[in-house]
Subunit: 80 residues, 2 copies
Amino acid sequence: MKAIVNVFLKNGVLDSQGKAVQHALSGHGFETVKDVRVGKQIIIEMNENDADAAKEKVAHMCEELLANTVIEDYEIEIQA
Amino acid sequence: MKAIVNVFLKNGVLDSQGKAVQHALSGHGFETVKDVRVGKQIIIEMNENDADAAKEKVAHMCEELLANTVIEDYEIEIQA
């Protein structure tokens, strides 16, 4: 079973990496870019058969380790 | 229009960040984890009306700036 976790800064938290990429893109002539956000995508292969159990475990992983829940939000997608 | 870009190390390139996360997860008792890959997700808001034109522009952004195409692959998803 595969879990795809996307971890992003919460809205309202300055995304300096996103701003830097946005600035660089406009410097390369990509004028139509309005906003850029940069986050992490973590793909986890797991020995699990039950999607709900897997999602619950991955949520614990996020709370404990993968995301800084003070400033970051996370989304979990499970693929069988 | 919104573009979602996922940038990952090519298969065969050592993902030391993924290995570190995998090691930490097993140290936290998550024994069912078999493999972990860590990549970037970049969300780009653009002033574009045509999905094909937007995808082409984002591919140029990836080739020029967002991905190191020697060691990284990228995927682009366009959302209207």
